[in-house]
């Protein structure tokens, strides 16, 4: 686990050191540089496998091919003898060196043989060619800036902002996407000049020419067509167990972040075979919203883990700017806050944590999958939907604002799938967004979502939505949060549900095996029905409930007011001051709940203040 940075077409030792300094938290255990051949590469290393060896950059036998690497290759012990058979000799005992030799053996296609999470750069001095690669699912980050014939890349945006001449102009479309979704999806970032290398993509640079291409995509289709639910569950369990085993490879202590939900419980169950596991759970000091402490305790007791709990009692207003800065990109996911605290807490006793991240996306854990499929089916029953719509319209106004009624309204409406989807996930209504920015509303986001939904090529709405989540929400929100918050604590988070073989198998199962009517995770519940406590199996899906409204009314109230109405915010002029004031007022009086909208605005403003507009020298 590390941070990598580099420049192609530039030899600048001081600059690459400064860039590496901006990601120092990702690798406190060491650093390494290569400057020459017209390139500059730098790395900060957190040692997990082969702590004593494996200093980067790693080189091939003649020293002309070298790599800097962030992540873990879980199958390196299998790849090694294979490469040795082909005449390669290894100098280290670590996983990263396989990347160099795989490149020698298969060129860019070597990436197909890696199992794990990674972002790496290979400099091929023989052909004066740079290769950047990012793992299939986007677990590890990689950003780049192209400026003429030069290329700068880094694990985090902060390192790219340290490069002189990189424009800090915001991307207007990305801003609209951010406001609707709470993150910027796809290849763009909020900063116009900075691009994200999307998951499953390669970038090559040679003589100043850049080419980006896809090497992997998720195929949600019925590959296992003659499968029934029972055999699918059994095979799934076998693959998950194998993945959890592989994810234990480590030369340092390891634990599990236990949420109380079924995913992290499954990881704990499959890990429990090998000795006493350390588990960690975070809760809140808010009456009625304590989080998942009780549920996690059930799991911990069932497996007799070495369980640790922490209750957040932070001075949130003091910590939040730090969290936003460590998050690197503006991602207004409130779950980042507890994730930050649990990672800090776990880092006192372990250096690696396994999490249940990805389970919801892989197994259909979100209730909206089932509901939106129902909606698509109702389209073929126009009389029924018309009657329901009429009934809903006849309701008195006071009754029509409730959640259930709004859901039903979405279901029987005529809006296309992308807008129904946004209705479920958006941070703010199209009207609020239009009032804030003076244009747009959901327009940009709706178009973006529509294009992705059409790319999936399957008729099943559940699969279409899963494809969408795998290409947006998962890599650009969930995994950003997981990577940055764990790195902020200098620990490594691993996500066994996102082993690509497990993902490919599960994606190849009929949607009906994964999502049964309106229930969630039918497959996982079945696969682990003999392993997990009954209470955990029965527990319906609950969003990770962060007491956002409570915070905004209490300890964060002054910070929100100050940040959103500050001179800096007004000077930037992204939002109509009157619309902002109205949101704040309505929140204060309690007439409306704008918690998520305000949180989205707050995170953006804190990011502007602490990352984009902060002097570059401030990033040590």
């Amino acid at each position: 686990m590390c941070g990598i940075v580099g420049l192609a077409g530039v030899e600048d030792a001081a600059l690459v050191r400064r860039m590496a300094g901006a990601v120092a938290h990702r690798g406190p255990d060491g650093e390494g540089f290569f400057v020459g051949d017209g390139v500059s590469l730098g790395v900060r290393r957190l040692s997990i496998i082969d702590p004593a060896g494996s200093d980067q950059p790693l080189r091939n036998e003649d020293g002309r091919v070298l790599t800097i690497f962030n992540g873990e290759v879980y199958n390196y012990r299998r790849l090694r003898p294979f490469l040795e058979k082909h005449g390669h000799s290894f100098r280290t005992a670590g996983d990263a060196e396989t990347v160099v030799h795989l490149y020698e053996e298969y060129g860019d296609a070597g990436v197909h043989l890696l199992r794990g999470m990674f972002a790496y750069a290979v400099w091929d001095g023989r052909h004066r060619r740079l290769l950047l690669a990012r793992d299939r699912l986007g677990i590890k980050p990689l950003y780049y800036v192209q400026s003429g014939a030069r290329l700068a890349f880094a694990s985090e945006i902060k390192a790219l902002l340290a490069v002189p001449g990189v424009s800090r102009e915001l991307d207007a479309d990305a801003l609209q996407l951010y406001l609707t979704l709470q993150y910027v999806p796809g290849a763009a970032t909020i900063v116009k000049s900075i691009r994200r290398l999307p998951p499953g993509h390669l970038l090559t640079w040679r003589d100043g020419r850049v080419e980006v291409r896809r090497y992997w995509d998720l195929v949600l289709d019925e590959g296992e067509c003659r499968v029934n639910a029972a055999t699918a569950a059994e095979e799934f369990r076998g693959l998950l167990e194998e993945s959890v085993m592989d994810h234990q490879i480590s030369d340092v202590p390891l634990g599990v972040l236990l949420s109380g939900g079924i995913d992290s419980a499954a990881v704990t169950a499959l890990l429990a075979g090998g000795g006493r596991v350390k588990t960690f759970t975070v809760g809140f000091d808010v009456a009625g919203a304590e989080g998942e402490l009780a549920e996690a305790r059930v799991v911990a007791r069932h497996f007799g883990t070495d369980h640790h709990e922490i209750v957040m009692r932070p001075a949130l207003a003091d910590v939040l700017p730090d969290i936003v800065r460590m998050q690197d990109e503006p991602v207004a996911d409130p779950a980042a806050v507890p994730t930050f605290f649990i990672c800090k807490f776990a880092s006192r006793s372990v250096k690696v944590v396994l999490t249940g991240e990805g389970g919801d996306e892989l197994l259909g854990g979100y209730p909206r999958y089932g509901w939106l499929r129902l909606g698509e089916r109702l389209r073929h029953r126009p009389r029924l939907t018309a009657a329901t719509a009429a009934l809903l319209r006849a309701l008195p106004r006071e009754l029509s604002a409730g959640r259930v009624v709004r859901r039903l309204d979405t279901l029987v409406g005529t809006a296309p799938l992308e807008d129904r989807h946004l209705d479920w996930v958006a941070t703010m209504s199209g009207d609020v967004q239009r009032a804030l920015t003076g244009d747009g509303g959901w327009g940009a986001t709706s178009g973006f979502v529509r294009r992705l939904l059409h790319r999936v090529g399957t008729g099943d709405p559940v699969h279409a939505l899963m494809y969408l989540d795998f290409n947006t929400w998962l890599p650009d929100d969930v995994l950003v949060k997981t990577d940055r918050m764990s790195m902020a604590a200098s620990i490594e988070a691993r996500v066994p549900f996102l082993d690509h073989r497990l993902v490919e198998f599960t994606a190849g199962l009929p949607a009906s095996v994964k999502v049964k009517s309106l229930g969630t995770k039918a497959l996982l519940r079945r696969a682990l029905r003999r392993d997990l406590p009954a209470a955990t199996l029965r527990r319906p899906k609950r969003a990770f409930l962060v007491p956002l409204r409570h915070w905004l009314r209490g300890e964060l109230r002054d910070l929100v007011d100050a940040a959103l109405t500050s001179a800096a915010a007004r000077a930037r002029g992204l939002f109509q001051p009157a619309a902002v004031a109205r949101l704040l007022h309505e929140q204060r009086t309690g007439s409306h709940d704008h918690s998520r909208a305000l949180w989205t605005l707050l995170c953006l403003q804190l990011w502007l203040d602490n990352v984009l507009d902060a002097p570059a020298a401030a990033h040590d």
């Binding site: 299998r78 790849l79 294979f82 298969y106 060129g107 296609a109 197909h112 043989l113 291409r213 896809r214 090497y215 992997w216 995509d217 998720l218 195929v219 289709d221 019925e222 590959g223 296992e224 067509c225 003659r226 499968v227 055999t231 059994e234 095979e235 076998g238 090529g457 190849g508």
Partner: protein, 371 residues
């Protein structure tokens, strides 16, 4: 001596088991008086008329009665009419009937076992019943033998006889296949139904193969519900340009593809859960017959069909690098490819012929008939 052959699968329906039983029946017809009882299938009248033995077809009743039940009733009637000395049970689903007859009337039976049908968990009770009542069990590979012995069957009553292979209808010239002359063709032949055939792993190996051999083309002959998935898989790995789905092909077309290919490959794997696996892999021998080297997944009965290092190369069916390595070696070393192909052809011509299969089977039947 009279022999009754009961089977669910029989020509003109296509498939490996169908072909095997037809070859067996016509091979034995010289010394045995044979009656085959099997379900009706389109085009059966013309086919049956050309055979040197009697074929009784059970026709499904109106009202959608289960075809299997109808077949069993018909088989029972024929048993009473023909009073055979031995029964060959072509599928374990017909085993309970055979066992009943052997207990009540004392007519012994030889059970055929392939692999998948006795490994599937839902088939276990019926397979146990069928296998334990058989005087002898004949299977197609050592893998099949292990599956049979797992039911507690005494090893000395189990025989492995490798199926034969023969070149049937000669195909059109290679030009008809519309592949450029420089294309290096990797060929798979098989229905696209079950995941265990491993087409997906060959597609996953394509990016690696193309690094070494940019003219490599993977030609998939056969059709089925998995085709769309495999097609999309190729697209997801950006190798669509190098993968061609031919669909279902006639015997003549398949012959042409066998002759055109550089390497035949089927990276079959075992599914631990559903029991799915290649019981033998007659397609390997068919490719060998045309002098082609083969690459097979080390799983199921494939090691019986492919002699590693002699007629082909066995690979780890879950390891794309291993698959790519074997294929690129054969494409890059013409001497090796020719040596394996020649040895495969000799083995197919000398050892794996239908007359030899029938001969061994006949010996077993004679022993059974003699009590």
């Amino acid at each position: 001596m009279r022999l009754l052959l009961l089977t669910i699968d029989f020509p003109p329906a296509r498939g490996g088991v169908q072909q095997l039983l037809a070859q067996l029946a016509s091979g034995l017809a010289r010394t045995w008086q044979i009656t085959v009882v099997t379900p009706a299938t389109p085009g059966d009248a013309a086919w049956d008329a050309a055979q040197p033995y009697a074929v009784i077809r059970s026709r499904p009743l109106a009202g959608g009665r289960p075809a299997l039940a109808v077949l069993q009733v018909r088989a029972f009637v024929e048993l009473l009419r023909r009073r055979p000395h031995v029964i060959v049970c072509g599928h374990v689903l017909l085993g309970p009937l055979c066992r009943l007859v052997s207990v009540v009337f004392g007519v012994p039976y030889v059970a055929m076992a392939y692999a998948y049908e006795i490994r599937a968990p839902r088939m276990r009770p019926i397979a146990r019943l069928a296998l334990r009542g058989a005087r002898r069990v004949v299977t197609i590979s050592e893998f099949g033998r292990r599956a049979v012995e797992a039911y507690g069957i005494a090893p000395d009553t189990v025989d492995v006889i490798h199926p034969g292979a023969a070149v049937g209808t000669a195909g059109p010239p290679a030009a008809a296949l519309a592949e450029p002359a420089e294309a290096r063709v990797l060929l798979s032949v098989g229905r696209l139904v079950d995941a265990y055939k491993g087409h997906d792993m060959v597609i996953r190996a394509m990016p690696l193969i193309l690094v070494r051999e940019p003219n490599a083309r993977y030609v998939v002959v056969g059709d089925g519900p998995r085709r769309q998935y495999l097609d999309r898989l190729a697209a997801s790995l950006s190798v669509s340009h190098a993968v061609r789905f031919v669909g279902q092909a006639s015997d003549a077309e398949v012959d042409a593809w066998y002759r055109r290919c550089d390497v035949f490959v089927l990276a079959g794997r075992e599914s631990g859960v559903s029991g799915g696996a290649e019981g033998y892999g007659i397609v390997f021998v068919e490719a060998n017959l045309r002098g082609k080297p083969v690459v097979g997944g080390r799983s199921g009965g494939i090691p019986d069909a492919v002699v590693d290092g002699e007629t082909g190369i066995l690979v780890d069916p879950l390891d794309a690098a291993d698959i790519a390595d074997a294929i690129t070696r054969l494409l890059g070393e013409p001497g090796l490819a020719a040596r394996l192909g020649d040895a495969g052809r000799r083995r197919a011509l000398d050892e794996l012929t239908w007359p030899r299969y029938t001969e061994r089977f006949a010996r077993i039947l004679a022993q059974v008939a003699a009590g």
